[in-house]
């Protein structure tokens, strides 16, 4: 038994689960801000990819991962602004708009990666440093999992509480939820629905852009085409599975990334013949079950997906 435990190495398993859940949580919370205000966001994948690329590109040329980080966030906000303009001002179907952004992200990152970065020979910008939080990092189990991490993971942990607080305790959160449930009622109450939606969509871009920086500037210190590999959709799944709440999305992301990690460890360490593909299906299948209402219905904001027209 002790042999089993030491081979399984639960602390490192939990630690890697938390780390790989980082971009999922961030993008899921981005999607949440957006959808809580009434705008569907299936563009998380494209925003993350763009963030990963711009973050890396800027870090590469400025030799600073921190400037790269800022660039990743700003680029996420910019591309989210496109989503906002299309879906809020031009009343384009929100799913179409999100899809367009995903295609566009593949195109832009692909073209400019090939032109400017693929054949670059100089040394890359590296990754965010590991920071050990004094005292706390020395606590057994908790320390290595939560307090010996890199920037994006710390930011994610803090932002869970920030987003929760904003959504459920502040004026802004109340107005956001009002716009997502019944935008006309919000407008008759004197709220500028367009403004609230714009800000939330752009905020979702910032969160997903930060999530994108995880891939290039925290995980490997490089950019690879299509490196987000569908994680934006798993984040969408985490948002739904977590019933549009930050803590729920956090739990769902841990579940999804954890099942991944456990699976690969079972295979590599214990040679258990579970096909990895089945473990990989867990997030998708769970999400389907949840939207079908089998585990307590996941109720989306009532007005999500409907373009709002004044008057």
């Amino acid at each position: 038994m002790t042999d089993f435990l030491s081979q399984l190495d639960p602390v490192s398993l939990l630690s890697i689960t938390l780390i790989t859940a980082t971009p999922l949580v961030l993008a899921a919370m981005g999607g949440m801000m957006c959808e809580r205000s009434g705008v569907v966001n299936i563009a998380l994948e494209g925003i993350m990819l763009t963030g990963a690329f711009i973050g890396y590109g800027v870090a590469f040329f400025t030799h600073s991962v921190w400037i790269g980080l800022a660039a990743a966030i700003v680029s996420g906000m910019l591309i989210a602004t496109l989503h906002a303009v299309l879906s809020i001002s031009f009343l384009v179907d929100q799913i179409v708009s999100g899809m367009v952004i995903n295609i566009l992200a593949v195109g832009i990152t692909g073209v400019f990666y090939r032109t400017y970065l693929e054949s670059a020979t100089t040394v890359g910008p590296g990754t965010f440093p590991h920071w050990d939080v004094p005292v706390l990092s020395a606590i057994p189990v908790i320390g290595p999992i939560f307090f010996q991490n890199q920037f994006v993971t710390y930011a994610m942990l803090i932002l869970i509480f920030v987003v929760h607080f904003i959504l459920f305790r502040t004026v802004w959160g109340l107005r956001t939820r009002a716009c997502g449930e019944h935008p006309r009622a919000a407008e008759t109450a004197g709220i500028n629905v367009y403004f609230v939606r714009y800000v939330n969509v752009i905020a979702s871009g910032a969160l997903a852009g930060l999530g994108g920086a995880y891939f290039s500037l925290q995980q490997i210190g490089n950019f690879l085409p299509n490196m987000t590999g569908g994680r934006g959709y798993i984040a969408l799944a985490a948002m739904i599975f977590g019933k549009w709440t930050p803590l729920g999305a956090f739990a769902a992301s841990l579940l999804f990334s954890g099942s991944d990690q456990v699976g690969s460890r079972l295979q590599s360490v214990f040679h258990v013949p579970i096909p990895l593909q089945f473990l990989g299906m867990i997030p998708y299948v769970l999400t389907i079950i949840v939207v079908a209402g089998a585990m307590g219905r996941a109720v989306a904001p009532a007005a999500v997906g409907i373009p709002y027209k004044k008057g």
Binding site: D93, V100, I103, L104, G107, F112, Y116, Q277, G293, P307
Partner: protein, 366 residues
């Protein structure tokens, strides 16, 4: 009447045309930003798509799956269903059809080919029916379920193709299925090229789908449900059954596109999936404005772009991903006709937005 006719020409022909032009202009900006000459790059794209040796035939080869996929998504749109899962249905259909086509032996082609096609369409139809059934029974939104089912289908494909005793061919270095039976292959119709009978079949699908939507009771039912589920229900139409049926038909078309690729071009499947068909399919349907006839030029455009992109990358070092930028821009302009109206000051530009999915909108203040 004349004004209405002109309005229809504007929305169905002019807006898509102008959108395509605008899409190429946006692409040109990206080419300049990447340090190349747009004329040279687009010249290479054109050569690769049309004028090089066998290029036109190859363009028609790549047009073929877009016809089936575009029709699949367009059909869904007409019933108010947003089938993002064409890609998954494409792969599941391919798997089913491939399995049948390499398992059967000794029958004449007139039997083997249809068997393969039917299996492919059935696979796609069944897979799509899952999303249809979940929507009809539980109200699960098809956008979410089809996105999720896409990823499940990739993993299913990889599992089946990678696993000994399932669909993995013996003695191969990279995992793939066995080749299909020679009698199940769709014959080439242009000697010296890869252009195969599947292209003709896909062309024929266009009028068939048009007839289905516009002239049959199934199509009427589907459109009625697409416009107003409430009114359809009150008139005794089973909304749930119509949704499942539409998804199944849509999935059958996607599965058809998939199996035609296998029987006409690849002859086997590998465990890696070239993602992207799903979004392209939606793009084709949007550009076609959900009209089956419109799928024809839209699929041709996408086929040409994909086929020419490789040559462009070779000649100019501009990544073939450029065509994603062009495609995305085209859709932006098609989906937001207001922008085209501004740019070209079309008088009375169509102000209405593209009606894609039927949704319960707030009761208007009267």
């Amino acid at each position: 009447m004349a004004a209405a006719w002109r309005g229809r020409v504007v929305t169905t022909v002019l807006v898509p045309l102008v959108s395509v032009v605008c899409g190429f202009l946006v692409g040109a900006i990206a080419i300049v930003a990447a340090g190349a000459d747009p004329l040279v790059a687009y010249g290479a794209l054109f050569a690769g798509a049309f004028t090089n040796h066998n290029a036109l035939a190859e363009t028609l080869v790549s047009t073929t799956p877009y016809l089936g996929l575009g029709l699949a998504v367009a059909l869904g749109f007409r019933a108010g269903l947003f089938n993002i899962g064409a890609e998954g249905q494409f792969y599941i259909g391919s798997l089913a059809g491939t399995f049948v086509a390499y398992s059967i032996h000794g029958l004449p082609p007139v039997l083997e080919v249809p068997l393969g096609l039917i299996a492919g369409m059935a696979g796609g139809a069944l897979w799509a029916s899952i999303a249809g059934g979940l929507k009809a029974r539980f109200g699960a939104h098809e956008v979410i379920t089809t996105i999720m089912l896409n990823y499940v289908s990739f993993l299913v494909a990889s599992y089946l193709v990678d696993t000994k005793g399932l669909m993995l061919a013996p003695d191969v270095s990279t995992p793939r299925t066995p080749d299909v039976d020679p009698s199940a292959v769709l014959p080439v119709i242009l000697a010296g090229s890869r252009l195969h009978v599947g292209f003709i079949l896909a062309l024929l699908a266009v009028p068939v789908v048009w007839f289905l939507i516009e002239r049959t009771t199934i199509g009427f039912r589907l459109r009625a449900v697409g416009f107003s589920q409430g009114a359809a229900r009150a008139a005794g139409i089973s909304v749930g059954r119509t949704i499942v049926l539409t998804m199944a038909l849509s999935g059958a078309l996607a599965g058809f596109a998939g199996i035609v690729e296998v029987l006409g071009v690849n002859y086997h499947m590998t465990d890696t999936v070239a993602a992207g068909y799903g979004f392209d399919a939606i793009a084709v349907a949007l550009l076609a404005r959900s009209n089956p006839w419109g799928v024809l030029p839209a699929a041709f455009l996408f086929g040409a772009l994909h086929n020419g992109a490789g040559f462009m990358q070779l000649e100019t070092q501009i990544s073939s991903d450029l065509i994603s930028i062009v495609q995305a821009s085209v859709i932006i302009f098609v989906a937001a006709p207001v922008i085209v109206g501004w740019l070209f000051r079309l008088r009375r530009a169509p102000a209405e937005t593209v009606h894609i999915t039927q949704r319960e909108v707030d009761a208007p203040v009267t």
